[in-house]
Each structure stands twice: as structure tokens, then as C-alpha cells.
């Protein structure tokens, strides 16, 4: 896997808010068809790190390479140009708009007069939702009227529909029931087999062990370490998260 250039390489990223170093000299990378789990306590800097990649924040220092080439990501529009899609923890939905409008927000389908084609978007939304969440029925209500799980499926659908090559998932299953959680897991496996690289943030150690190839653990804004999931045990991962302790094996 190491011969080819990584899909994403974030090198020595620094970002401080006021005096607080939210991300302190962190380097992570991601290969095609790989799922990398980002772990750490609340406030460890995981979400901040991925927001640098998704363009929501601009790093104070550090370089991002996409496919081995230096990338300039200054805002979410730039990130979209590199086919980076993000499912935010907050979901980032416009509550007053319906599911279709949210799904296509920023890339609306238009008819031949350049006018937004709501019916075409709704039809397309019905089709995609039929696959991801067949119980979804409220297509014409604003998403504020949807349940947490339904809102999450809108956010997930939005990220995977537009040919993402790099997918960032910040706690994608937080509001989902067991059945939908399994569907998201299946979705991740399917996307992985299509060669998409995924950064997955989750607190569920079971999810991580099942879905991830590697994990990168952060604590207090610093990177504790990156390990192959196959080489470490649950307890060692917890040790990294809680104590910032390196697992035994990597100390050969």
C-alpha cells in the first residue's frame, strides 16, 4: 500500500484558537480504499483537524497533499473541488429546507432555463433515499421536522451522492438506531471497495475495530500515534486515548 502516493497527506498541521493549540503539529495520511479512524477524547482536536481538510478552518501552518500534489484548501468550496465530502457532527443542514434542497445544496439541478428544478431533485432524492433509508418518507417537510436519524441519513446521502473520493465522517452514526448503523457500516465497506478513502471519527471502539484499517489517536491537540488496527488490542487503543501511552508493539 505504501508504494503509491497517499490520497491525502496532512503534514505538520498547526491551528490555534487564541492561546489554545487545538491542533499541534499533527501529520496523518489516507490511502485509496482505506478507512482511517481518528480517535481521542472530546476536545482532543479530531474535529478541528478534519475541518482543516474540509475547508471549514484554515491551518496556521502545515501542508496538505492530495494525490501527492500540494493542495490549497481555503474554504469548503476548494475542498469540494478536490472531491472531499464531509459529514459533520452537527450535520450542517439548513433546517428550513426540505431533504432534496439540503441534499443538493450548493449543486442544485437546473432545467434548461437555468432555474432550480425542485421536482427533478425530489425524484432523485427519493431514489437515493430508497436505498440508504427505505423508511424515509417525509420528502416535502423541512428537515427540522425530521427525526435525528432521518436528518443524519440526509447528511450521509449528501456526502456520498456526489462521487466523493475522500470522505470525512464525523460521528456518522451518533443518532442512528441499530439497523441504520448497520447500513452505514455496509455503506462504508462498499465505498471502501470502490477505492474511496475515508476518515472516520467515532467513539465506538467496536465500530473502529470493525471498519478501520488504521487508527490515528489524538490527545490535547497532539498526535499520540498511528497504528494498524490488526496490530493493536482494544485495551492498547484505550491506553492511547486515555493516557496517551504508546502500545508495546510499536516500541520494537
Amino acid at each position: 500500500m505504501t508504494q503509491q502516493a497517499p490520497l491525502v497527506e496532512m503534514k505538520n498541521i498547526h491551528l490555534a484558537f487564541g492561546g489554545v493549540k487545538a491542533v499541534d503539529d499533527v501529520s496523518v495520511n489516507l490511502f485509496p480504499g482505506e478507512v482511517v479512524g481518528l480517535l481521542g477524547h472530546n476536545g482532543a482536536g479530531k474535529s478541528t483537524l478534519i475541518k482543516v481538510l474540509s475547508g471549514a478552518y484554515k491551518a496556521d501552518a502545515g501542508i496538505i497533499y492530495i494525490n501527492g500534489e500540494r493542495a490549497n484548501i481555503n474554504n469548503p468550496r476548494d475542498a469540494r473541488k478536490y472531491n472531499i465530502e464531509t459529514i459533520y457532527q452537527t450535520l450542517a443542514l439548513a433546517d428550513n429546507l426540505d431533504a432534496a434542497a439540503n441534499l443538493f445544496l450548493g449543486r442544485e439541478l437546473v432545467n434548461r432555463f437555468g432555474l432550480v428544478d425542485d421536482d427533478a431533485m425530489e425524484a432523485e432524492t427519493r431514489k437515493i433515499m430508497g436505498r440508504l433509508n427505505p423508511n424515509f418518507a417525509k420528502f416535502s417537510s423541512p428537515v427540522s421536522a425530521l427525526s435525528g436519524g432521518q436528518r443524519q441519513s440526509v447528511a450521509i446521502t449528501r456526502a456520498v451522492y456526489f462521487n466523493a473520493r475522500i470522505l470525512i465522517m464525523d460521528e456518522p452514526t451518533a443518532a442512528l438506531g441499530p439497523q441504520e448503523t448497520k447500513m452505514v457500516a455496509d455503506l462504508i465497506k462498499q465505498l471502501k471497495s470502490e477505492g474511496i478513502g475515508i476518515f472516520l471519527i467515532s467513539h465506538d471502539i467496536h465500530d473502529i475495530m470493525n471498519l478501520c484499517d488504521r487508527i490515528s489517536v489524538m490527545k490535547n491537540g497532539k498526535l499520540v500515534g498511528t497504528e494498524n488496527v490488526a496490530d493493536v488490542t482494544d485495551d492498547e487503543i484505550l491506553g492511547m486515548i486515555i493516557l496517551g501511552k504508546q502500545p508495546q508493539k510499536s516500541r520494537e
Binding site: 474540509s54 471549514a56 474554504n75 469548503p76 468550496r77 475542498a79 469540494r80 464531509t86 459533520y88 452537527t90 450535520l91 450542517a92 443542514l93 439548513a94 433546517d95 428550513n96 429546507l97 426540505d98 434542497a101 445544496l105 450548493g106 449543486r107 442544485e108 437546473v110 437555468g114 432555474l115 432550480v116 425542485d118 421536482d119 427533478a120 425530489e122 425524484a123 420528502f139 416535502s140 417537510s141 423541512p142 421536522a145
Partner: protein, 441 residues
């Protein structure tokens, strides 16, 4: 709400009252019905009050309703822009002053500057004046938008400053003088007997509008069939078509029922060497030009808000500014465009207001910002952002103007007028809050 059509779900979900079934089938917004109900109440109320207390019901007459339509135009044009401003959780307090500044600039251009180069009464004078008025409004609005979006100064402060700055600038432009008379063609844009299109043209406009209503209904049905969405029952389509066309034809008949005043007819007769006695000549006003301008603005702004990407982004920003930015929307640039549009519409309102007055005075448009905001809010635009409609704002402006006109007609003091308008504004928002709490949307 992004679309005026509130629901595409199947019609037969629950079998509650006939009225709610009717609403579901026709997909009429119940808030729209409420506003129309309030309007009818105001109109009939003032008419009956005049009839029984003053002995003469002056409200529901072609003359008053025609004047009402003209008086509403200026504030309503600006209210359509204010919807976008408030939907994105901003406010614009400067529209009245921008109106004053644009009106003053246009008057100077057409009275002091252009006649020197083109000669008095040149046919291009009004065109150049109008274009420069719109442009000046657009630039002022864009500048406000820039300060708000890129320098991060709150809209309330920027436009409060604008309210003072542009009123003062309007004074400086002409050292406080009143400039008149405006160009003859320009003054037609403000209405009056010469600023109306007459009976025949009004009928043509009415018929075109009816065809447009039918075309939209047909197009909507075709589109739904294409995507296999549930169709409205045929009786509901028929009902909408009848009511839509009925309202349009009724409006045409109304504006055609208001004849030119005797004095104007006399002038017209002597100018055209007509032998018929003045008493037997009935020349209809027809639609006033400012009303046609308002209709065009209403249609264009509705398309802009509901059917373009820009409009979609405006509502997305209003619903969740962070989400809009994360979705790749350039929220700052959209904000600049919203305020530029608001400025342009203030420039257009300046055309209507100064043309109607026949001159530009330094205090033209004073306090208009408050009426414009009130119209948008009465029309259902929510200060918490993300919700508002163009037709609502126009109806809101009509409600405000109806109240004022009605109180003038029955002889209320100016002081009481102000108190009533203020009280109505607060109650309207209160009722709206109750309505929102009780509906799931």
C-alpha cells in the same frame, strides 16, 4: 419554506374537516388565506364605518382602490427586497434614505444636468435618469453589503449609519432644495391619469396574466406526472384556475371602472378637437404604471427566490449560515448581492415615489424603512431567519397602506393613525407567532 407549494404528499392522509381537505387538495397556504381574510376585513370594515358613521362609504370605490394600488407600489417594491434581507437574519434600516438619495440624484440628473446636453424634454432623459437611479441604489447597497459581509460589521449598525449618511448626502446634493418639475415622461412612472395604460392595454395585460396562470397550472401538472408525484384532483386545479383568473379579471375591471377626472378629460378633448360633450366621455385609467412595475417586480422576485440558485442560497443561509458556508456557498458574496438588490429596489422605489410627487424633496422616503420592514414582517417574514415569501410582503404592504388610507378616509388624526399602525404591527407578529407554534412547519 422554499416553495409556495407546501406539500406534494398524497391528498388522502387523514380525513379531518372539509376545510383542511380543501386546503390540502388545492395546496393553498393557510397563512395566505389569513392575510387575505385580514385584508377583506379591513376594507369592508372601513367602508361600512364610513357608510354608517360619516354617511358615505368611500373605501370600496374604484377611485380609492386605484389610488391604494398606486400608493402601495413604492413600499411594496422595497418590501420584496427586505424579505431576502430579513430571511438571512439581517436588517436594512437605510432603504428610506437610499430612496431619498436616489430620488435627489435622479432629479439633478434630469433637471439640472441632462437638459444642458440633450435639450429639455429629450426622450432619452428619463431612461438615463432611471438607469442611473437604479445603479446608484445598487452601488450603495453593495457597499453596505461589503461592510456587513467582509468587514463583519452588524447590518443593524451599517444600515443605521446609512440611514443618517444618505439622508445627509441627499441634503448636500441639492443644498436642501426641492427639485421640480421632473421630466414629463419620467413623471408617468409615478401614475396619475397620464401614467396609466388605459382600458385596452389593461385588458391585454389581464388576458396574458390569465394565460400565464393556466400555463403554470398545466406545466405543474405535467411535471408531476413526469416524476410520478401525486396529482392535485381536477376540481382543485379548476378551482385554482377560476379563482386566479377571476381575481385578475376583477382587478382589470376595477382599474377600468375609474375614469379620468373631468378636468383632464377637458384638456384632452380640446387638445384633440373632439366634439362630444365632456360629460359623455368615459376614459378609463386602467392599470397605473407603478402598479405594473410592482407586478413585474413581484413576479421576478418570486422566480428569483423560489426558482434560482441564488434564492435557494438566501434561504439556506437564513436557515443555517454555517451549514450554507460548509455546503460550499459563498455566503459573503451572497450577502453583498442581497444588499445590492435591496439598494436597486430602493432606487426603483425612488423612481416611483419621486415621479408620483413630480419632484424630489429632501425628506422623500423618510420613515419608509419602518413601513417596509413592517410590510415584510406582516407578510410572514420571520426575524429568526429562513422564512418569508414575496407575495406575503406585497400583501403586507397592501395591508399597511389600506390601514393608513382607511384611517385618512374616515378622518382619524395623524396621531391615532400612528398608534393604530404600531399596534397592528405588534399584533400581526404575535398572531404569526401563535400560528407558527400551532403548525408543524
Amino acid at each position: 419554506m422554499t416553495k409556495p407549494v407546501t406539500s406534494k404528499t398524497a391528498v388522502s392522509e387523514k380525513s379531518d374537516g372539509t376545510f383542511s381537505r380543501f386546503l390540502r387538495a388545492t395546496e393553498i397556504d393557510s397563512r395566505l388565506l389569513g392575510m387575505i381574510g385580514a385584508l377583506v376585513l379591513i376594507w369592508v370594515g372601513f367602508h361600512l364605518y364610513g357608510k354608517f358613521v360619516n354617511g358615505y362609504g368611500a373605501f370600496l370605490t374604484p377611485r380609492n382602490l386605484w389610488n391604494l394600488s398606486v400608493q402601495t407600489a413604492s413600499v411594496a417594491v422595497m418590501a420584496t427586497g427586505m424579505v431576502l434581507v430579513i430571511v438571512t437574519r439581517h436588517i436594512d434600516l437605510s432603504v428610506g434614505s437610499i430612496l431619498g438619495f436616489c430620488a435627489m440624484s435622479m432629479a439633478i440628473i434630469q433637471v439640472w444636468i441632462l437638459p444642458e446636453f440633450l435639450g429639455l424634454g429629450h426622450p432619452m432623459i428619463w431612461v438615463i435618469a432611471v438607469i442611473s437611479g437604479l445603479l446608484i441604489g445598487c452601488l450603495i447597497g453593495a457597499f453596505h453589503g461589503y461592510l456587513i459581509a467582509y468587514l463583519g460589521i452588524p447590518a443593524f449598525i451599517v444600515t443605521l449609519g446609512g440611514l443618517l449618511v444618505w439622508r445627509g448626502a441627499a441634503f448636500l446634493l441639492a443644498r436642501g432644495e426641492t427639485i421640480s418639475p421632473v421630466d414629463a415622461t419620467f413623471s408617468k412612472l409615478g401614475g396619475g391619469p397620464y401614467g396609466a395604460v388605459g382600458a385596452t392595454t389593461s385588458w391585454i395585460i389581464g388576458l396574458v396574466a390569465c394565460l400565464a396562470v393556466l400555463g403554470l397550472l398545466w406545466q405543474g401538472r405535467r411535471q408531476r406526472r413526469r416524476f410520478k408525484f401525486p396529482l392535485r384532483p381536477l376540481w382543485a386545479e379548476g378551482f385554482l384556475a377560476t379563482v386566479g383568473c377571476g381575481l385578475i379579471i376583477g382587478f382589470v375591471m376595477l382599474v377600468n371602472a375609474y375614469p379620468w377626472p373631468r378636468g383632464i378629460v377637458k384638456k384632452y378633448v380640446s387638445a384633440n378637437n373632439i366634439d362630444t360633450p365632456v360629460e359623455q366621455i368615459f376614459i378609463s385609467h386602467g392599470f397605473a404604471i407603478p402598479v405594473l412595475i410592482l407586478m413585474a417586480v413581484g413576479v421576478l422576485m418570486t422566480i428569483l427566490t423560489t426558482r434560482t440558485r441564488f434564492g435557494r442560497y438566501v434561504f439556506a443561509i437564513g436557515g443555517n449560515p454555517d451549514a450554507a458556508e460548509l455546503s460550499g456557498i459563498n455566503t459573503r458574496w451572497v450577502t453583498v448581492k442581497i444588499f445590492a438588490l435591496m439598494g436597486t429596489l430602493s432606487g426603483l422605489a425612488a423612481v416611483i415615489a419621486s415621479a408620483r410627487l413630480g419632484s424630489a424633496t429632501n425628506n422623500l422616503g423618510t420613515l419608509d424603512e419602518l413601513y417596509v420592514i413592517a410590510a415584510a414582517v406582516i407578510g410572514g417574514t420571520s426575524f429568526s431567519g429562513g422564512v418569508g415569501t414575496i407575495y406575503g410582503a406585497i400583501l403586507g404592504a397592501l395591508v399597511m397602506q389600506s390601514l393608513q388610507t382607511g384611517m385618512v378616509l374616515i378622518g382619524f388624526d395623524a396621531a391615532i393613525q400612528q398608534m393604530v399602525v404600531g399596534a397592528v404591527l405588534v399584533s400581526a407578529v404575535w398572531i404569526d407567532t401563535l400560528y407558527r407554534r400551532n403548525s408543524d412547519v
